[in-house]
Amino acid sequence: MPTIAVVILVLFTAVLAGVVVVRPAITASRAGKILAFGVFFFLPLFSLVAGMENEMGRSESTAFCLSCHIMEPYGQSLHIDDPSYLAAAHYQNHRVPADAACYTCHTDYAMFGTFEAKLGGLRHLYIYYLGKPPLPQDIKLYKPFNNRECLHCHLGARSFEQGATHNADPATLPAIKANTLSCISSGCHDTVHNVGRWGDKVKFWDGGS
């Protein structure tokens, strides 16, 4: 449900509840009782669920992740004009949805991946507001990046399955698929965001949103 529709629903419910609060005598009739049940039970709970669902959806957006000050350099890294930067190449070429770039790569494509991603987000919030947030360049993943997240899209793709480097050694492709040879940290695709290590020569692409 779009945000504006949820806001209208919430305000509509609040106005109806206000009517019953100001004029409780209207609940004397059967219609008034139904109205009271609707505005004090059904509509508030429905509004709350709709609002939470809306917020959960919003939390997957790139803009949401980058709204934290500490994430700004990571947002800038998506615009680096250099295809060797993995995150930038994926974002600029729409290999991931541009409006959900962070979430697409950093969620966990396992059974409870979305739930764990949300818990991780709450942990970020706790550290950001109540803890001692690290400098952007000192941010580390909680656990090593699992190839499963890459293979969610690349598995079966011709460029991956028949890529010259992936097939130079017959053991490489099975090792990647078994997550024993990391895509990111084995020296093949290790330039991801590289925040704090850009140097002076890095250029930025001014396209995208």
């Binding site: 806001v7 305000l11 004397a28 939470m52």
Partner: protein, 76 residues
């Protein structure tokens, strides 16, 4: 003279909880910051939940004749 029964008072209290919670929720929905979700759940959700629970409690705790107080006299 308008007499407000205990059921009316309970409805008003639960209504105030629900309305406050809904207003908090509306603010969170237009506030595009990560903390908005936490505020929505912890404050808005808690207020709405309290209002709903108090409403349900007022229903189950009402005596059969409590609702008669609504019909004593309309507002002037």
């Amino acid at each position: 003279m308008h007499r407000v029964g205990s059921m009316s008072r309970r409805l008003r209290v639960s209504g105030i909880f629900v309305i406050t919670g809904l207003l908090v929720e509306a603010l969170c929905l237009v506030w595009s910051k990560p903390i908005a979700f936490v505020v929505l759940v912890c404050i808005g959700g808690a207020l709405i939940g309290l209002g709903v629970l108090f409403f349900l409690y007022s229903l189950v705790s009402a005596s059969p004749h409590t609702t008669d107080s609504y019909t004593v006299a309309p507002d002037k």
